[in-house]
Point group: C2
Chain length 210, copies 2
């Protein structure tokens, strides 16, 4: 493996190309072949394209900070969602990551605040509760003003474990704890829905309003 | 379409994230979704990862030049292949682009020099012979010292057109002009080989050496 990598790296006679390909191939889903294609593409384009890309990545990484309240990405100490005066501060939606905030915002039906955990509990990946923003969530709830916590983590084993851990941690408080409905995905056929989901969707059936 | 793009761009509350996603999505095969995934990945990684990536791309684009002889990428005026004293300078392999040089070098069986055209003639894409390094190839051959030109372009209509154009341009010279063998690809079944290729492979059959 070491020898193979060495060979592959040697094939570019340019150290500059080698460096660029090595750095590009650190990106998720980008192997050395794709990295080479990207690098050669940039070489064919106007120099301003590479300059803008390079500058924007550097500015992103150095300029972005995380909201002191919800840990969403932000360019200010407190993010626009937490700082908003029109949002319902009594409902906190607990999500795994920054992207989930975007997804829920895009639904356009949630007007509360968020709390970004930064992951889910996953002992196999060495991620315990201490690596997540769970302590800060508990503090935030105990500080008062929140009446409902929506657990909006994935319906995976890790997500359910994290849900249950947070539920236990918030046991002493009088906050209402809810979770996302489980059921048949909109647009999905019954035939392709697994039995556990079907069971949940049957148990948690809702009134049909015609 | 305009409205949709606007909406998608608006969904990130951070201008820094917007910029990075926009620049990343200019890369070939990278849409806004992938660009967002890459940007968020970089945000989760150590700051040195982004710094190295950003720097290496900038150094690549600003530092790479093209060999004055063969137009392959190079960090020096003449590339290591052209400058080599052990390579056979009497054979010039004409290829479409920089990547093809790497591919032929990886075969390990070619010891001549290259000439990188920078593309193939494609009227539909507005690429005429004047946009390619064909004049410089003709000059190079006419300067003498080359006994064979190998046309190593793709077996496509554009490749064949370019082959024929170069053949015509070199008509006055006494250089031998060859092209890559057409035939059944190694590892391929006869069943999945098209008729034109099969015909060529039959016509150009070689002696079986057991």
């Amino acid at each position: 493996m070491q020898i193979y990598c060495f060979f592959v790296e040697e094939e570019f006679q340019s150290q500059l190309l080698n460096n660029a390909v090595t750095e590009l191939s650190r990106l998720p889903g980008v192997g050395r072949k794709t990295a080479l294609r990207l690098a050669l593409h940039l070489l064919r384009q106007d120099v301003t394209i590479t300059d803008s890309l390079s500058r924007s990545l550097s500015e992103l990484r150095h300029g972005i900070r995380y909201c002191a309240v919800c840990h969403n990405i932000s360019e200010t100490v407190v993010c626009p969602i937490c700082a908003s005066t029109t949002r319902d501060k009594s409902v906190v939606c607990v999500v795994e990551n920054v992207k989930d905030v975007m997804l829920f915002e895009n639904t356009g039906i949630f007007n509360g605040l968020y709390h970004v955990l930064g992951g889910v509990i996953s002992p196999i990946d060495g991620i315990g509760p201490d690596k997540l923003e769970i302590d800060s969530l508990v503090e935030r709830i105990k500080a008062g003003g929140v009446s409902e916590v929506i657990l909006a983590l994935g319906a995976t084993m890790e997500g359910e474990t994290t849900n249950f851990y947070i539920f236990r941690r918030l046991a002493g408080t009088d906050v209402k704890i809810t979770q996302l409905a489980r059921g048949v995905a909109v647009g999905n056929d019954i035939e392709y829905t697994d039995e556990i989901t079907l069971g949940r969707s049957l148990r948690d059936r809702t009134l049909f309003n015609g």
